[in-house]
């Protein structure tokens, strides 16, 4: 069953062991206002959402949608894993100057490149890419890891993300 934001506020408040009066006081609103939120008669003011979410121990997104944020890296069980040939390694480099580079490499090609003895620093001269070990990334993917496997921010301010899907 899908819950409303009011239901979630009530549930999270009770989980925190707070009374409506306590929550209302911390937010600077009346207890009647909290009661109306929980009974789906009105919604909290948008400016109150960050503080309300903080008091209830969730993100604003979770409070609004009821969905918890997905972890950036997931380990897939054996039966859900895709063939390496159907997977893609996406490397994104965002430079401090505002330039963006996206490279999409099929995992099959990454594997073939590693077989040739190529490594990331030989493929790109970017300082932030220097210490990324492709062999370890391939090994992680073999063990079922997908998602944002690497995030690097160089001293110069460039940021690099390696994403596998």
């Amino acid at each position: 069953m899908e819950t409303t934001m009011g239901n979630r506020i009530g549930m999270l408040r009770r989980r925190k062991g707070m009374k409506q009066e306590e929550l209302a006081e911390k937010l600077g609103v009346s207890p009647q206002a909290v009661s109306k939120w929980e009974n789906n008669q009105t919604c909290p003011d948008i400016a109150l959402l960050p503080k309300l979410a903080q008091l209830l121990g969730v993100s604003v997104d979770e409070l609004l949608t009821g969905k918890t944020a997905e972890p950036t890296v997931r380990m897939l069980p054996q039966e859900q894993r895709k063939d390496m040939k159907d997977m893609m390694l996406r490397i994104t480099v965002d430079s401090v100057k505002g330039d963006k580079v996206r490279v999409n490499l099929p995992m099959a090609l990454v594997q073939a490149a590693l077989d040739m003895g190529l490594q990331m620093p030989q493929l790109a001269g970017n300082e932030a890419l220097k210490n990324i070990d492709l062999n370890q990334i391939v090994e992680l993917v073999r063990h079922g890891a997908i998602g944002n496997l690497v995030e690097v921010e160089s001293a110069g301010g460039d940021s690099v993300h390696v994403f596998v899907e």
Partner: protein, 81 residues
């Protein structure tokens, strides 16, 4: 292979190069020579295997975008194999 260069509204270049001209044994030879000059020795068999893998993937994924570059000044370069 397609290379698209967009620079604002004025410049819009679209280069279409037959894939056979880009992915062939001569290019592999050139690439190996360039890599060798940088101290990276790639065995011939491994290089040909790499070429075969690229060709296979490219045949099965016609919409594969190899690289995209977005410059802060607005220029965009897209490379499709």
């Amino acid at each position: 292979m397609q290379i698209v260069v967009r620079d604002g509204d004025d410049t819009n270049i679209r280069l279409r190069i037959p894939t056979g001209l880009v992915l062939n044994r001569i290019i592999v030879l050139v690439a190996r020579t360039v890599l060798k000059s940088q101290g990276i020795d790639v065995p011939r068999e491994a290089a040909l295997h790499f070429l075969a893998e690229i060709r296979t993937y490219q045949r099965h994924h016609r919409d594969w975008v190899l690289a995209e570059v977005h410059r802060s000044g607005g220029m965009e370069i897209i490379v499709k194999l």
